[in-house]
Amino acid sequence: MSLTLKRVFMAVFGLLGALFLWPCLLTLQYYQESFPSYLLFSLAQGIALGMAFGAFFGSFEGIVVSSRPKAFSGLLFGAAFGAVAGAAGVMAGQLFLFSAGSALWKTASARNGVGLAIASGVAWTIIGVILALTEGLRARSARKLLVGLAGGSFGGLAGGAALSAVSYFFPGEPWSLLAGLAVFGLSLGLCYSLFENRFSSGALMLLNGPLKGKEYYVLSRAMRIGSGSDCDIVLKGYPDVEKAHATVRASGGKVVVEQERSGARVLVNDEPPAGRALKPEDVIAVGKAKFIYGYFG
């Protein structure tokens, strides 16, 4: 999948999250009176938001690399992590309201109006940032965490501000809530994908087979390639590819590719890699799959 297409996909995933979440939030709001307190009501909304966007964004990587098991496990991990993100974001928003907020909005009307709106914005922003960190935590990749932090900060801030603004200016308007959620999902998805290639040590583009054209950013110290669904690059449908076939390692600006076990066909420019650092335009063979290394997009 090319970078542009990937960005479009990510934005679409944000929209899907919004579509899914909107009726859930409205239903929660209908049962507002059943909640014992504002805090628990806000927490429920934050958790719902985190779970929905977490699940959709979490499954993204799996869908991009055409790995169903990865998509489903990403969905579950994203939902669980998103729930935590939602709770943490709301708590942080409340904390902000009762610490800095009490100094900023001293009157009851300001506190219950614009103060609450901005505190909600803070909560949505923090949820956005934490959600964007999901893939980094899942892949245990510092680079991906950095991508998440940058993308999540921008996307979360833009989306959180939009969501909070529509709730403030059009309170109780269901369609404006949908618009706010859509902007939240879109900006989070777009900002994440805009930053994705900024922190990478290059990318591997698949040249042949069913997944040809897909680009894999080198964003972690070790990326495993194989036919097993637990690999970072899952090569399903390629002959001669072992479950765990090769590993791409990145450290100190140097990217190398190694066999995962002897006998697995791994070549760089038709020769055994022998620990040489990859250069742009190097052609890497993993079984019958071929990649070109470089900086794309």
Binding site: L19, L26, S109, R111, K212
Partner: protein
């Protein structure tokens, strides 16, 4: 038509009489809600109701009576709320924030009868200053106080939360206004006073003293007010601001000319209206307000989650005679979380279903396609990913328009740069060229190709592709690496 007018007038008169009776009834019951505090609503889900209940005759030290609290979103359906604490005379312990709003219009410089004052001490303003001094002197060190003076202009001379001494100093600075500054901007000044005062913590009491009706400069002169232009404020605006910020307005009408609407403002914000004719009465009124507020009872209760910005609260308590006293007032909760949504609609399921179905489609859809025929694909440039199929035993690649694979745009590319030969018996593709081309970054003139090989011909880079499942027949390629 005249009959209609008469009817309307009669209706209005009846309505006014009924309202007056209702107001009197509230006092006859001997209990009223003076302020509703929402400071702890968002953090602790707690709301505080200040209740004035002189009829109960309670003093500090006695056991607080049992209060019951109800909340409602519409003033009709009530839900009882748990009372967490009842405190007698809490304002003595916690202090009161007072804000005095003093009329310094032209008429304040006349004597109580409205005639030009004979001596400096005989004017209304001097009586008002003396009463204010006595009030300030009686305040507790826990109280905060501010003082603003108004006429055509508004002067927040001693901001709220200050010490009585600061306010007293301001009293000494009050001077007679010129003709242009002598108007009574009562409502606008009340609104500006509320804005200045609303941020004070705890019990907020605004006492406005005026000797006349609202007499706005812009309206009466047709010229914009030097400070507020053509802005105006209505009593309902003032009540709205005061209720939203939890401020009680007490009105003192000094002299014979009395603003009728200021009484409504006081009542609807939980306060009272007093009329005074001379300095001695004025001093008693100030003292009564202070004593009233000091004797209030605070009822803290756990607030509900009723949707809607406006909420009604009703408190009830039994009196010594076994009767039941109750009072009702409204307050405003948050706007962001405070609005409830309508009943869930069946079409909600469509949205959830559509999003889930789209997701599932993306998971299940085979976004990729296997290569089912051999060919070369441009890797870079504007035509990247363009695929040229290879057919027949020999395919010429070059810049010539009649080449089998004709690639334009690279002046270094020869008309016939390389040829791909196909051995159908062995299912093997081989590239041959007169001068070297690069395959996987190695210069060659002849080389067997496999799927994914990258061919660079004088800067034009193509990827050779063929069906992966169809391996070459016969001996393996000689390009190194292990095959299974």
């Amino acid at each position: 038509m005249n009959g209609d007018i008469a009817m309307t007038t009669t209706k209005r008169a009846i309505a006014a009489a009924l309202m007056a009776a209702a107001g009197a009834g509230a006092w006859a019951q001997g209990i009223s809600i003076t302020q509703i505090g929402t400071e702890r609503l968002l953090s602790n889900q707690e709301t505080r109701v200040y209740v004035s209940a002189p009829a109960l005759g309670l003093a500090d030290g006695v056991e607080p009576p049992l209060f019951e609290v109800w909340e409602s979103g519409d003033g009709a359906d009530w839900l009882q709320r748990p009372v967490s604490r009842v405190s007698l005379e809490p304002n003595a312990d916690e202090g009161i924030s007072f804000f005095l709003l003093l009329d310094n219009s032209g008429s304040m410089w006349t004597d109580p009868a409205g005639a030009e004052a004979q001596d400096a001490g005989g004017s209304r303003i001097e009586s008002a200053k003396a009463a204010a001094r006595a009030f300030l002197g009686a305040l507790s060190p826990k109280d905060g106080v501010g003082l603003a003076v108004f006429n055509t202009r508004y002067w927040n001379a001693s901001p709220p939360g200050g010490r009585p001494a600061d306010a007293e100093r301001v009293l000494d600075e009050i001077s007679r206004p010129g003709t242009e500054d002598a108007f009574t901007e009562l409502f606008l000044s009340l609104q500006r006073g509320l804005a200045d005062f609303a941020a004070e913590p705890g019990r907020r009491v605004l006492i406005v003293l005026s000797d006349g009706e609202n007499y706005p400069y812009a309206l009466k002169t047709g010229k914009p007010n030097p400070e507020t232009g053509i802005r105006s404020a209505s009593p309902s605006d003032i009540v709205d601001s005061a209720v939203r910020d939890g401020v009680t307005v007490y009105a003192i009408r000094f002299g014979a000319q009395r603003d009728p609407l200021v009484a409504r403002i006081a009542e609807e914000t939980g306060g009272r209206t007093f009329d005074a004719m001379d300095g001695a009465e004025l001093a008693r009124v100030y003292d009564e307000i202070r004593t009233d507020v000091l004797s209030e009872i605070a009822v803290d209760y756990r607030a509900g989650m009723i949707p809607g910005e406006k909420r009604w609260v009703k408190v009830a308590v039994a009196n010594a005679a076994g009767g039941r006293l109750s009072a009702t007032r409204h307050y405003f909760a948050g706007t962001v979380l405070g609005r409830g949504a309508g009943e869930p609609r069946p079409y909600y399921l469509l949205f959830v279903g559509a999003a889930a179905a789209a997701w599932l489609t993306l998971v299940l859809a085979k976004l990729e396609r296997e290569t089912d025929r051999a060919g070369v694909r441009l890797l870079y440039g504007s035509q990247a990913t363009r695929f040229f199929a290879i057919a027949g035993p020999q395919t010429v690649i070059g810049a010539a328009p009649d080449a089998d694979v004709s690639i334009a745009g690279n002046p270094s590319l020869k008309a016939s740069h390389a040829t791909i030969l196909f051995d159908e018996a062995k299912n093997v593709y081989t590239i041959v060229a007169d001068s070297p081309v690069s395959v996987n970054n190695h210069n060659v003139v002849r080389r067997r190709l496999e799927s994914g090989d990258v061919i660079n011909m004088a800067g034009t880079v193509v990827v050779f592709d063929e069906e992966l499942a169809k391996g070459p027949k016969g001996p393996k390629g000689a390009e190194g690496g292990k095959r299974r």
